[in-house]
């Protein structure tokens, strides 16, 4: 049983595979979550409430997650009719990673954090819209 569980774990972490409507919805939700998480972090950083190490480390975690999601989504084979939203999702995930990198590299700049927060809010909305196309 443990071997089965390990195999499922390994397979679920693999790239590629088919992009089904269900999976598109899941991946869009993941991106929306990453962006909303980043928006919250950026908001606290913009208010001067966060600490430099906390903002840098958490923004990095989220950026790496967004990058990984973009790679995985881009490597899938979309079901008929899903090619466009799949490409949009990969592009949006890359955009989230770029924006989060700015926060990671400028944890003490409140203006940058405010702009990053706005941008991530828009990305979260965009991810939700893409998910609705599934």
């Amino acid at each position: 049983m443990l071997v089965l569980v390990a195999a499922v774990g390994v397979l679920s972490a693999c790239k590629g595979g088919a992009m089904t409507p269900w999976r598109l919805q899941q991946d869009a939700d993941s991106l929306a979550s990453i962006a909303a998480d980043g928006e919250l972090l950026a908001g606290e950083t913009a208010k001067g409430e966060s600490t430099g190490p906390f903002t840098t480390v958490h923004a990095r975690e989220l950026r790496q997650e967004a990058d990984q999601l973009a790679d995985v989504v881009a490597s899938t084979e979309p079901d008929p009719g899903l090619a466009r939203p799949t490409a949009q999702l990969a592009t949006t995930a890359r955009a989230a990673a770029r924006v989060l990198r700015r926060l990671e590299e400028h944890p003490g700049d409140e203006d940058v954090a405010a702009r990053v927060g706005d941008r991530l809010g828009a990305i979260a909305d965009r991810a939700e819209q893409i998910g609705k196309q599934a």
């Binding site: 569980v5 774990g9 919250l40 606290e44 190490p53 906390f54 958490h58 989220l62």
Partner: protein, 410 residues
Amino acid sequence: MSKPFQIALGILAAIGGFVDIGDIVFATTAGATFGYELLWATVLGVVGIIVYSEMCGRVATVAKRPVFDVVRERMGFGFGLATLVSSQLVNLMTLAAEVGGVALVLQLLLGLPYRGLVAVALVTLLLSAWFLPFEWIERVYGFGGLLLIVFTVAALKLGPDWQQLGAGFVPGLPSHGTELLWGYFIVGLVSAALMPYEVYFYSSGAVEEGWKPPDDLGLNRLNAGLGFGLGAFLSISLSVVAAQLFLPRGIDPEFLGTVGLGVLNPLGQIGLLLGLLGIFFAVTGAAIDTCFSGAYNLSQFFGWEWGKYQGPRGAPRFTLTWIVFLGLGFLIILTGVNPIVVTEYAVVFSVVAMPLTYLPILLVARDEGYMGEYANGRLGNVLGFLYLGVIAIVALSAVPLLVLTNMGQG
């Protein structure tokens, strides 16, 4: 000794069970996914661990026999060995996760490279376990972990919906997510509360502290009820914060940093620092729980001298075992595995060791020939058998739910 210091054992054991690195993220994810709807599952788990920790503490106090002694005696060599192997695997996985967790929280506090902080975590644990007397380990990490109370303050500041919160303590079907996911989280929350290493650590700690009947039986009840109750309260606070802050925003907390946002947002920088320090103490305490549990189990199974109170010369194999255990945990986490994922697997796989651990405790605690006037009363027996049923259901459903929900990913 004053009363607050006397319940340090229960608090440290409970902190290991309820607010270690995996449980912190798991309880937060439960709140972010189901709102207040799973609070009852934590209560179900905490009543179970209170019932069984009281029993094993009583057995340790009256008969001077910690849990693994009892397992070995009542279940025989074969079942005892199976329990030993499964519980040691879970202990090692959990310990590795906690070492990584200490490094993760230090990274959020200091911003230094993760691998270097894993080494700092190892040194911190080695020094604490070697130099601090058992009572001071309990006090430093048990009471330090109570800084997590800042999550309760955060929950209150966020203004919970008290009616919905109250309704969360009544079991019901989910209004968010799927039934399978709901089942997975219930099993996870109940399993986390009943992690076997809590009773291994707790009962061995009672022997370490030299509890004697009848005076210390009240202390045992206090430790079990208040200590584990506090652990559950902190876990519920994490879920409530997540229900208020993350659920409406669609955030699925996968990182310790997201948990930190739960106090940063309502309480600002001071809340964040207190929260991260609380996590540091809780996770370090959990690491020591699991590290010592591993050494207790092996020593008690093979009949070696054991106990922190004996010192390295008095119990050399016990001392060597916890050092080796800590080293193995360090090596596992250096491979780059995600500590949070490791501990979630550990919680689910602990179900294998659960029935084999809790059944012998019940059998001995209710045995009047063994416990005399201190054997279980009727309520203890009813609750004990009831919870064996809960444990059986959890044990049978854990792995299928883990597979079907892709580890709670839906």
